[in-house]
Amino acid sequence: MRNAWIICRKELGSYFASPIAYLLLTMFGLIFGYFFWTAVAVFVVEGMEMQMRGQMFPMNVNEQIIRPLFMNVSVIGLFMIPLITMRLFAEEKRTGTIELLATSPIRDMEIILGKWMAALLLYSSLLLFTALNFAFLFRYGNPDWKPLLVGYLGLLLQAGALLAIGTFISTLTRNQIIAGAATFAVCLLLYVFGWVSSFESATWARVLSYTSVSNHFESFVRGVIDSKDAIFFVTVIFLGLFLTARSMESLRWRS
């Protein structure tokens, strides 16, 4: 585990020594900032209209601002995750530094865990932006913080699963662009697989929609920790990391 931490520290260092971390932070900050601003603006306008009409429907910050924003973040994540994971192994393979890691007295799994953790930490640092914005809601409103935390948990689980898949894809090629593009395709598909359930109810459609990350993410956004959904994400994380380990091993046998 100590070795995994060494790798993780080095990966984080690489992210923040290169422009990539700052680029991602800026992009995410801008995009999320825009979403946040529009969500709050709509909320304010609706609130004023209701007051003018004299209707007093209860308005809820959690349901009307935070919940849709979490859905937005999970979609923005689809674009960010390939950018985070594409370099993890592809770059090491291209520059040959993988030889250093593979001939050092550490286990493959420690290398993989370290890299995955670094990716997850970078993603978490993106989420800090959202926390910054949400802090305003607490300053001027009175949202419930428990569903907020559950939402964050859901985001992290979803990202962890997709990052594990991205890490795996990064071991398959030495070309970062290929790794990134393939990861994006897989992430997007996993996101939209849920749509089939709306028009088809055959077994294959149910299976397909079960593999969709968006379906499993929804419960978290509603503030509910559904063990079925949590287990789904944890399983995907394990599967992704397991495939990465197998892929690294086969790299050696084939090479």
Partner: protein, 334 residues
Amino acid sequence: MITVKNLTKRYARTVAVDQVSFEVAKGQIVGFLGPNGAGKTTTMRMLTCFLPPSAGTANVAGFDVLEHPLEVKKRIGYLPETPPIYPEMETAEYLKFVGKLKGLRGADLQKRIDYVSERCAIADVKTKLLGKLSKGYRQRVGLAQAIIHNPDVLILDEPTAGLDPKQINETRDLIKDLAGEHTIILSTHILPEVEQTCEQVIIINKGKLVATDSVRNLQARARGAESVLVEVGGRDGSLELPIVQHKLEQVPGIGRVLCKQQVDGRAVFEIESQKGQMIRGDLARAIVQSGWDLNELRPSAMSLEEIFLQLTGSDATVEAENEKVEAVPEGVQP
């Protein structure tokens, strides 16, 4: 220190390393010699546990590469063909990272970083980004990285490739310097390098072991018997080959006379002496006294290079080699 038995690496279509066996004793410097694509890198990768062998065994520092890879990895330092550096890291930061990877901690780590920085003469670039370093510095950082945990065995894949002559000499001296403490295998396709730095040579070609011997023995093999090329010309434009041949064979100390070519009135012979005999003087006298012209007489002593070519069985390799020396090394192909 290193025992390799019938080591084989097969890929889908090719056999990269075919039943190679050799042994390296503690503290030796061994040159791993062969043309490009001979299987040097593959063999080294198997010794460093980067690639698993398809068949055969390799035992490094008392541990089998397949059964105890972690124990082997603790005891080896490896410098791949391209130094495995992260361009976005500073030299000191990189050495610290590698040191930690190899299991060094705390005061020990700092001590070793200082030691290898001084040893490899990279102390002056400690705070520079690795990506900005010159090829020579990168190579030395690569070497520093390989010795940071004071390994028993050092495996260096073409440590002097791509360096300028001065840097090559410095690197060779450094390697020779390290020999006392470590057992070193270095691969190269440059023959003088082996003559200068190594005690033992392992020559492989097309994945097969061709020869393994000490440098001294190989040189003795090269210089044991004198071999000369003689061009003899007839006075009046005609030369009777059998007579000349017979005459030459009469000269004392001659081992073998071989007519290599004959063009109107001239003939070139390759003549080998018996071991330890000097024949050139007698040979010249015999030819001139018989009334023929001695157009040319030059020694054709076999150099290590010729032995190498003879063993690896192709002339094309040397030219290919020379090209490679100048070419920029390509990316590693894992």
